[in-house]
Symmetry: C2
Subunit: 476 residues, 2 copies
């Protein structure tokens, strides 16, 4: 057992025995170093571990404290969604954009944000590495590598997949302007206007937007809040609608947070193979797992090149750099040509900085720390929600990512709640933006990626009060 | 008269009088400094000026030589194009992509390239500036500024327009992933699938590709090789086809190189106003003018917000950085939302580097040098073409940019020439890729942006021989 785990276990024991009680302050790092004869890094690792387990909580500039007795967690949502079975064209309304724009303002409490806190990322180090790489840059690479992307970056991405047992060659990796470009290119490569595409219900709103822009129809498929899309329903939808593609998020889905079990991913790919149906797999949250290892994507089971797998560094390393990638299987050339005809290639400085970072080592260390922090922030948010939200609410318990999906009592209108919250300087993501037919009217998505308890706690208390009010009014 | 101009005039006089003769070497910079009692910068400026006038030519590592007697220039193309008047859907074939991909390989002589030489740009200085900016970066700006773009960069772009008399505010500027994203977003904002769009004939192939991806129909309008789109024909096409938009390049058009006269730009905007028709103005070459000042864009005459004007740094400062912008007039919000739903925003490191470069000064100095070099390279390419290409060929004489458009004798097949050239390691851009109906079969576009006379001279001699052969065979 490493030294820090032993220390964490010792403190956890003290908490369980009552020797340390809720609200007690843990020894300062300096004091713990002295008494335990270990390094500050060991103490920090032990405290982070305890924080991830929810046993202690950091207070800014003050230290670590034993967590106050937590309320029992909210029950989880249990039932799969039941979207309409019809396909239909899309119309992402101005309202959706107003909501998205509102979440970008820095002054609002960012519970509706799609992003984690940018303070979680090694931006200064990336900046230094960009500097070196840009000054050593061979000018010709700005033309040679513009299409497929920087060779070193493609190699590093392939290497990481290989380490997880996926046979990915650097030539398979097409670097894109964020995962969103990758997803849009893949969708365009496998569809023609008027085609139908299967999506989850609820689904990431950018998928709806992408379908709309390409003139595609959405078929929303019932989706279980803990296990993902229902395979029986998927099979039926395929037979009924003859879709051209599916677009799914198999690990820590936005907004539900579910991790599709590995056997289910395998069965999904098997079903695709039977129907020769391409899957666009949005895998941008997989690195943010709280469990011991990165969940394998559906792509891992794809022997026929039917999975167009898309990833990104935006959520796990370099927000604002806009670097993602596609492993487009049998559509590799088609995707690459769509890009040559549309945006040419990804931005070089960002690619070089990330390649240098990955080559320099330390990415896995950064990821371990990031996951611990997100796990702790999610535990804290779940606890605050359980404390402040009224009975009748349910909350997901994702094992990765940074979103919680809340089902409020029927009759509580998420859009009305959003408007009221925004006027009070609080953002949230109302359920209807995740649905082609504006369903999930009593649901909201909350962001645990900021971990700003000082602002989020009071905001959640306010929201909880309003939800209780609105539930009572609806029940009358 | 500045010192360098006096020196240049003195040497030009010596050449005219025959005191310096074709093939003579000019004094070395060191010797000229001593004899003229001036700085090396003055001598360089004088020699650059003479080179831009075509009077002298630099030979690598050897010095400046009086130009050999130049052949008379080829005649210019004179007649407007005559495309079919019907609208039609598009099908950018695999052939076009094969051609584009072939031009990207470093080992071929890049006469078909779309890019200027990357050695023309201050990439090391941009790299240093990126370093500083990234290390000072406020992490929150990766979220706050992701949508519209870096405020300093928007300010600098607006400032440059204001200096030219266009009233552009920083808030009008939407930073994009290269001009191509800007153009695509603008096109999507003003059209719906099935709409018709007016384009030049010939036109930039990415416009064809963009129309195809959005399910739009192209109406090709007769275009004069020296003055741009024919306004009478435009008027007729508007009345006949009721298009949703036009997409034009008004300054140094790719591939023809024409500069639409200012009065014509004004009349164009007037026609748009009458018909309430939006214009997507691709203005990425305007900074590469050989004349004294940047030509004003159609946007300068746009009082109604009907011009969606797109620019870029890719051709004049930072290739591979992928930073462009849109001034989208009355579609500003629509374009901004399309982007929020598709790629979110442009890459931060590239934006910060360019903003720091513009703020640091020196951009105008870089541009002056770049324009001089491109003018000299274009003069040299035109001369080599006149020397090597057979009678019956015509060549444009653009006053900016880095393309020459060559009309070969009727019956010479540009696609056959392209295949033969590529097999010999020479790229060129065959006319049919610039046309919705694969017209311009006897035309090619050549790139003067590399100025690599050592490789390009022999390549042009080879091409000239083949063209003569093919013309003779066609005449038989």
């Amino acid at each position: 057992m490493p030294r820090y785990e032993a220390l964490a276990a010792e403190i956890a024991g003290a908490i369980r025995r009552g020797a340390l009680r809720p609200g007690d302050r843990l020894p300062s790092v300096r004091a713990a170093c002295a008494s335990q004869r270990c390094s500050p890094a060991t103490v920090f690792q032990a405290y982070y571990r305890l924080e991830a387990e929810g046993l202690v909580r950091a207070r800014e500039r003050s230290g670590y404290y034993v967590t106050e007795a937590a309320p029992p967690p909210l029950p989880e949502p249990e039932r799969p969604s039941q979207p309409q079975a019809q396909a239909g064209p899309l119309d992402v309304s101005a309202q959706v954009f107003e909501i998205l724009e509102a979440t970008l303002a820095r002054e609002v409490v960012p519970l509706g944000s799609a992003f984690p806190s940018p303070l979680l990322f090694p931006l200064p180090r990336l900046g230094r590495l960009a500097a070196g790489a840009l000054q050593r840059l061979d000018p010709w690479t700005t033309i040679d590598d513009l299409g497929p992307g920087d060779p070193a970056l493609r190699r590093q991405i392939a290497r990481r997949y290989c380490a997880e047992g996926l046979a990915v060659a650097p030539e398979d990796v097409l670097i894109t302007h964020g995962a969103l470009e990758a997803l849009n290119l893949c969708l365009a490569a496998v569809t023609r206007p008027g085609d139908k595409v299967l999506i989850e219900s609820p689904t990431f709103y950018a998928a709806l937007h992408a379908l709309e822009r390409l003139g595609l129809e959405a078929v929303e498929v019932p989706t279980h809040p803990r296990e993902g899309i229902e395979l029986d329903a998927l099979e039926q939808a395929i037979q009924r609608h003859r879709p051209a593609a599916c677009w799914l998020m198999t690990s820590f889905q936005n907004p539900l947070g579910f991790l599709m079990p590995e056997a289910k991913k395998q069965a999904l790919v098997e079903a695709l193979r039977r129907h020769r149906l391409p899957l666009i797999e949005d895998d941008v949250y997989a690195e943010l797992h709280f469990g011991p290892s990165r969940p394998r994507p559906a792509k891992a089971f794809d022997t026929d090149g039917l999975v167009l797998h898309c990833g990104s560094f935006s959520k796990c390393l370099a927000p604002g750099y806009r670097i993602g990638w596609a492993l487009a299987g049998r559509w590799r050339q088609a995707v690459s040509r769509l890009r040559l005809g549309s945006t040419l290639g990804a931005s070089m400085p960002a690619q070089l900085a990330i390649a240098a970072y990955l080559e320099g080592g330390g990415y896995d260390r950064h990821l371990r720390l990031l996951r611990r922090r997100l796990a702790a922030q999610q535990a804290a948010l779940a606890e605050a929600v359980a404390r402040h939200f009224p009975p009748g609410c349910r909350a997901t318990r994702p094992a990765g990512g940074y979103f919680l999906w809340i089902e409020m009592p029927e009759g509580v209108d998420a859009l009305a709640l959003h408007r009221r919250a925004l006027a009070a300087g609080i953002s949230l993501a109302p359920g209807p933006i995740f649905s082609a037919r504006r369903g999930f009217r009593h649901c909201i998505r909350l962001n645990a990626g900021h971990g700003d308890a000082a602002r989020e706690g009071p905001a959640l208390a306010t929201l909880g009060g309003w939800i209780a009010e609105m539930a009572a009014a609806a029940a009358r």
